[in-house]
């Protein structure tokens, strides 16, 4: 039997983490309890975060939006502010797992799991989201690209938790897009995914663009040189084709049970073509 705690607020959590530094945390449990069941991990004690209201929900603070780490995917999907400002995140969450998985799973859990296939990650990379890390005595902010170090590896020290995510509200990207290719439509881990946000002028030129790919390397990948090359170019198949070589050269896909590296490479480039749907 494992010790398990259900703190009702942050004060209680900090007290617990102090006396049980070896405890494993979980929020929705949709990653952690699966790993525990399959014997991959066997933590001596567990702390369930689900009751900590302080880290739940969406807050608007000046020009930023704060999303508490314990906010579930279902809560985000129906949230007015998220729907209005961050459609790329909404599109990604809509294809994450299944209704009950979205009712249980949290954005914080998705980030800390740091799977290259995590569906909220590519949107958070293009939105330049910042992670708020808290401990009993400190609080710091890091961009998501610095927080996630590799598959399952994150910049989180002893006694620290992910409190939530900060995203700038008015970034001016009217066109937002997320697509994942999986083995089936629902309950499918991504084989390749791509998030894109862009500003396109009325004469169909790409004014500003940010792109991120999932499942094609140890972390989500962005290529600033690809983005710079596209800026100023017309949004056409030829224009996009000009950078596909660079994308292929940059990504580091692997063979696994879901797909081969060469299939992933092919699809990663093809997903760019979808942006043509937004041309004016």
């Amino acid at each position: 039997m494992t010790d398990i705690f259900l703190p009702s607020d942050l004060d209680e959590l900090w007290r617990l983490l102090n006396i049980k530094p070896e405890a494993a945390l979980y929020a929705g449990g949709t990653d952690l309890l699966v790993k525990r069941r399959s014997g991959l991990i066997d933590p001596p004690s567990l702390v369930c975060l689900e009751r900590i209201q302080e880290l739940k929900g969406v807050k608007e603070c000046g020009d930023e939006v704060f999303v508490g780490a314990l906010t579930t995917h279902s809560e985000l999907l129906s949230h007015r502010v998220i729907r209005k400002h961050f459609p790329v995140l909404i599109q990604a969450i809509a294809v994450l797992g299944s209704p009950p998985v979205r009712n249980m799973g949290t954005i914080g859990g998705n980030i800390v799991t740091a799977s290259p296939a995590g569906d909220t990650l590519a949107p958070l990379y293009v939105l330049d989201a910042q992670m708020e890390i808290r401990s009993l005595s400190s609080s710091r902010r890091v961009p998501i690209s610095a927080f996630i170090l590799g598959p399952g590896q994150i910049d989180l020290g002893q006694g620290e938790i992910l409190a939530g995510v900060w995203i700038k509200r008015h970034q001016g990207f009217r066109l937002q897009h997320y697509e994942k290719v999986g083995r089936r439509n629902a309950l499918a881990c991504s084989v390749v995914s791509m998030a894109a946000i862009m500003r396109v002028s009325s004469d169909n030129r790409i004014y500003e663009i940010r792109l991120a790919w999932g499942s094609v390397g140890p972390t989500v990948m962005r290529f600033p040189e690809v983005e710079r090359l596209l800026e100023g170019k017309p949004l056409t198949v030829d224009g996009l084709n000009d950078v596909i070589e660079l994308v292929h050269a940059g990504i580091k896909p692997i063979d696994d049970i879901r797909a081969t590296a060469s299939y992933r490479r092919e699809v990663a480039g093809r997903l760019l073509h979808r942006l043509i749907n937004y041309s004016t």
Partner: protein
Amino acid sequence: MTSNLLISFKLNGNEVQVDSAPDRRVIDLLREDLGLTGTKESCGRGDCGACSILIDGDQRLSCLMLAVQLEGREMITIEGFSLQEDRLSNVQQKFIELGAAQCGFCTPGMVISATALLRVNPEPSRSEVRQAISGNLCRCGAYQKILDAIEAASKEKTKL
């Protein structure tokens, strides 16, 4: 060493207190300790939806919840549907009438998904119904009849 915990919650309308290991999975608590075997376990890892329950009205998976998480919550299992007024729910009735169960193993989970949907969206489109059961696997492949049954339920005056 950890000992059992008294956990209080509402189960199918009744306040209950159970003496359980806090890390017992809710599916085991239901099936083995409480004798409520309507809720099924198939994959044990979130993939199939057979173990679905309602917690405070939301669909959750009892294979991915630990007993301690029930404290203070209201849980409804498939058994809770027919207790009220001693009859089956409209959704259950439509499953029978339209032959939406073959082996029946996925049925409790499907009924929970359908009920969770109709509570928030009483007149769903076919594609919304598909979305709603996208976390439920049916190994017999009775999907079309399941969709028909849920759609038929949504067309009745009393939907649930």
